[in-house]
Symmetry: C2
Subunit: 447 residues, 2 copies
C-alpha cells in the first residue's frame, strides 16, 4: 500500500501541483468555510480587469491552491491546452424529473436526512454535509429520475467542473469495454502491446495489472523530496515549453518509458496515477484513437449528453488519462446511470452488461491493503473503486471530493463535484460515505 499522500494526483496536464503541500498548509490555517470561500463571495476574476488581488493566473501552485481552486475547478481550460470530448451535434436527451412540487418536496426531505459521520456521535444533516464538503454540484438520480440537484460556488447547470481522478474511471471503463468486446487482451504484457516501452518497469506488467493498479512501479509523491517522481512527472507532462537545459522525458509517454520497478507486479494495489496514463497509451495504441475520441465515440456521442467535455493535454497533445477531464454535472449523472443500468441508456445498449458486472464485482480485496481507512475494506478494479458494502456500491473518485457513486441496491446514482480545501478524499469520506448510505436508505424507504 502506498502512503496516504499517494492519494494525490497531479492535476490536469500534469503541471507540477503540490496539492497536498499547499492544501495542507491551508488546512493548518483553518480554511475558510464553504460559504466564505464561495468564489462569488471572494470576488475572483470579477471586473475588467479584476483587481490584482482578485486575479487568478498561472502557475498552478497559485491557481489550484485553496481558496482559488474553488474558482479554478470550473475554469481549467483557461489555464491549459485541452482536447474536446465531443457530444456530436445532435439533440441531448433530457433527464427525467418529477413535477416541480414533488421535486421541491424531495429536496426538503433529502436535505433533512440525518446521518452519523464516521468516528462521530454528532448527527449531521444532508444539507449540512454539502457545505462541510465544499460541494459545487450535487445530483441524485433514483430509478433513473432526478430527485435532487443543487449547484454552489463556481458551478451552474450549464457549467463544467474538473473531475480529477474520476478521469481514470473513464479510461478504465473504455479499457474494460475493449476487453469484454475482445479487442484488448488484458493478459498481454505491456511490452507486447507497446514494444517501445523498453526497459520501463511497466514492460513486464500485464494489461490487467495496469488496469487494477497492481503493478510494481516506483512513483513517489513525497513533496518534500526534490527528487520525488511527482516532480519529474509534472515536468514531463507540462504543456509549457521545457526550461532551457531540460533533458528529462517530454510528455506522459516518454515518462512512462523510464519508470523504475518497486515491488512485484501483481502483489498489491498501489494507487499510482501513472498506471492510468499507461492504460491510456495502451487503449490508444490498440484502438488507433486518442482517449478523447474513444470517450466521445463510445460514451459521449451516444449518451444524449448536454455538453461537450474536455481533457487537458501534455506538450505533445496527449490527453491526461489519469486526471484531465472536465465535464458537466448532469452528464456525469448520465454516465452513472449508464453504469447502474449495466451499459444501457435511453433504451440503447452501449456496451455489454458484462463490462459493469466485472467492474462492480470488484478486484482482489486481499490486495487492497489498509491505506484508505475512510473508504474501508474495498477494492479497485478497471480504475473504479468498489465498496463491497451490502448495497454493492461502486464509485469513481477524484481528489478534492469528486465522485460518481452508484448504489445498485437502492437504484441510486449520485454525483458530487466539489472543491474541498484538501486533496485527499480521506478528509471528505467521513461526512460523505455515511451520508450517501443514509440517502440511499431514505430513497428505498420512501419512493
Amino acid at each position: 500500500m502506498s502512503s496516504s499522500t499517494s492519494d494525490l494526483v497531479t492535476l490536469a496536464a500534469g503541471v507540477a501541483l503540490a496539492l497536498g503541500a499547499a492544501s495542507g498548509v491551508a488546512a493548518q490555517q483553518a480554511p475558510l468555510s464553504a460559504q466564505d470561500s464561495d468564489p462569488r463571495v471572494m470576488g475572483w476574476m470579477q471586473g475588467f480587469p479584476p483587481p490584482a488581488d482578485k486575479m487568478i493566473t498561472q502557475p498552478d501552485s497559485v491557481y489550484f491552491s485553496f481558496p482559488r481552486l474553488r474558482w479554478s475547478v470550473c475554469h481549467l481550460r483557461e489555464f491549459l491546452p485541452t482536447e474536446e470530448i465531443s457530444r456530436g451535434v445532435g439533440a441531448p436527451v433530457p433527464l427525467d424529473y418529477p413535477s416541480p412540487a414533488k421535486f421541491a418536496e424531495l429536496r426538503a426531505q433529502i436535505d433533512a436526512v440525518t446521518f452519523l459521520p464516521q468516528n462521530s456521535d454528532q448527527p449531521m444533516t444532508w444539507e449540512e454535509s454539502l457545505f462541510a464538503n465544499y460541494t459545487d454540484g450535487m445530483l441524485i438520480l433514483h430509478k433513473g429520475q432526478v430527485v435532487y440537484e443543487r449547484y454552489f460556488g463556481c458551478l451552474e447547470e450549464d457549467g463544467k467542473h474538473a473531475i480529477m481522478s474520476m478521469t481514470k474511471s473513464f479510461t478504465g471503463l473504455l479499457a474494460e469495454i475493449m476487453v469484454v468486446e475482445g479487442t484488448l487482451d488484458d493478459t498481454l504484457l505491456v511490452r507486447d502491446v507497446i514494444p517501445e516501452i523498453g526497459d520501463s518497469a511497466f514492460a513486464s506488467a500485464t494489461v490487467r495489472q495496469v488496469m487494477d493498479m497492481t503493478t510494481g512501479v516506483k512513483y513517489s509523491e513525497n513533496y518534500s523530496d526534490p527528487n520525488a517522481d511527482i516532480w519529474l512527472y509534472s515536468a514531463a507532462a507540462s504543456p509549457l515549453p521545457k526550461p532551457e537545459g531540460y533533458d528529462g522525458p517530454d510528455g506522459y509517454w516518454e515518462y512512462l518509458q523510464q519508470v523504475q520497478p518497486e515491488g512485484n507486479h501483481g502483489d498489491e494495489f498501489h494507487y499510482k496515477t501513472i498506471n492510468s496514463d499507461m492504460l491510456g497509451w495502451i487503449i490508444s495504441r490498440v484502438s488507433g484513437k486518442p482517449v478523447t475520441d474513444l470517450a466521445s465515440e463510445r460514451l459521449w456521442r451516444r449518451m444524449g449528453v448536454e455538453q461537450d467535455a474536455y481533457q487537458t493535454v501534455d506538450g505533445k497533445g496527449v490527453p491526461f488519462a489519469g486526471g484531465g477531464i472536465t465535464a458537466g454535472l448532469r452528464d456525469l449523472g448520465r454516465l452513472g446511470q449508464l453504469m447502474l443500468d449495466r451499459g444501457e441508456l435511453n433504451g440503447e445498449r452501449l456496451f455489454p452488461a458484462e463490462v459493469v458486472e466485472k467492474i462492480s464485482a470488484g478486484g482482489d480485496r486481499s490486495k487492497f491493503g489498509d491505506g484508505f481507512p475512510t473508504f474501508g475494506a474495498g477494492s479497485y478494479t478497471s480504475q473504479w473503486w468498489v465498496l463491497h458494502n451490502d448495497h454493492g456500491a461502486f464509485a469513481a473518485r477524484g481528489v478534492h471530493g469528486q465522485t460518481i457513486y452508484v448504489d445498485p441496491t437502492a437504484e441510486m446514482v449520485l454525483v458530487r463535484l466539489a472543491s474541498f480545501p484538501q486533496a485527499q478524499n480521506g478528509f471528505i469520506d467521513p461526512t460523505s460515505l455515511p451520508a450517501y448510505q443514509a440517502v440511499a436508505e431514505f430513497l428505498m424507504a420512501n419512493n
Copy 2:
C-alpha cells in the same frame, strides 16, 4: 491606409506569429497543392505517438506555418488556453435542407459554375476554386436553406475551425447591438469609458472610431523589424509565462494602455487588430461581461447552434477579441443567416434590425484608401467589411481565407473556412470574390 502586411493579425492568444514571413517563405518554395497538403495525406499527428516528423507542437511558428497550419486550424485549443462560448444545454435547431436528390443536383450545378478570376482570362469552375483556395469547409445558404456543404482537410461537420479575424466581426456586432440598444454611447471617448487607458493614443479616440478602425494609433507589423509593435503585442498577449527579465505589458489590456499615436483619429481606416481588442475591453467594461459571455448570451445561446465555440485567452484570461474564436461551419452559417435576416433567426428577434442596417450600409468609403485592391473600393464599419457592390454584400473576413459572405440581393449566405498557405486575403480574393458573385447569380437565376 496601412501597408498590405497590416492585413495580418496575430493569431489566437497573441503568441508571436510571423504569419506573413512564414507563409511568404513557403509560397516562394511553391507550396504544396490543397490535395497534397491535406493533413490526412501529410499524416500529421497520426499514431500513438506520431513519428517525430509528423508531430505538431509549440511554438506557433511551427504549428501555425504551412503546411502544418492545415491541421492546426482545427486544433487551436490543443495548443492554447481557451474560454468557451457556450451554446447552453438545449437542443440545436436543425438547418433546413432540400431533399437529398435536390441537394446532390444543386451541388453538381454549383460545382460547375464558372467565373473569371480577377486579372485573368482563364475561366475557373467553382469546384476548382475550392482547391485553389485550400478550402476546409464551404457552406452556402439560399433563402435560408442549405444548398451546398462540403468539408475538406481537417474539418468535418462536427468539427471546428479557427475563424481568425472574423472574431473581430463578433466583437463589432456585439458592440453595435449595444450601441443600437442604447447601452453603449459610441460618441464617448475611450478614456471616458476606461479611465485607466491613461496616456494611450486610444484615450482620445471615440468608441465609434475604434469600432470602425479609424483611430490614429501606432501598430506596425513589419516582421523584419525586431522593434515592430507586433512582437511586443505578441509577447504581451502570450498565455505562456513571461521570460525572465520581461518588463513589458502583460496581456492585451496592458498593451493597449501604452499604444503610441500615429496620425489623427478619424482621418483614415487602418486595419489594425489592436482596435478590436480595445473594443473588446470597452464592451466588457460597459456590460460587465467578458466577450465570450456576451457572444454566448446574445448570440450562441439564442441561435440554435450545434456546437459551443471557443476563444483563446491571454495570461490573464482575457479573450482575444481580435482573432481568437474557433467555431463550427454550420454555426457560422447561422450567424450569417441572422445577419441576412436583420437580427431574426428561427422566428425569434435577437436584436433590432437597425444593427444590421447600420453595418450593411457600410462606413465612410472616402477613408477606406486603396490598400485592399482585391477587395475593391469598399468600407469597414463595426468590424465588418462592406463591398458596396450592386448586391449590397458585406462580410466577415479572416486571414488564410476565412469568410462569412452575406449577399442580401441574392438572399445568399456563404461561409468558407480555409487554410491558405499565405495569410493575406489579397492572395485569395481573386479566385473567391468573383466566384461568390457567380454563385449568387446562379442561385438568383435558378431557384
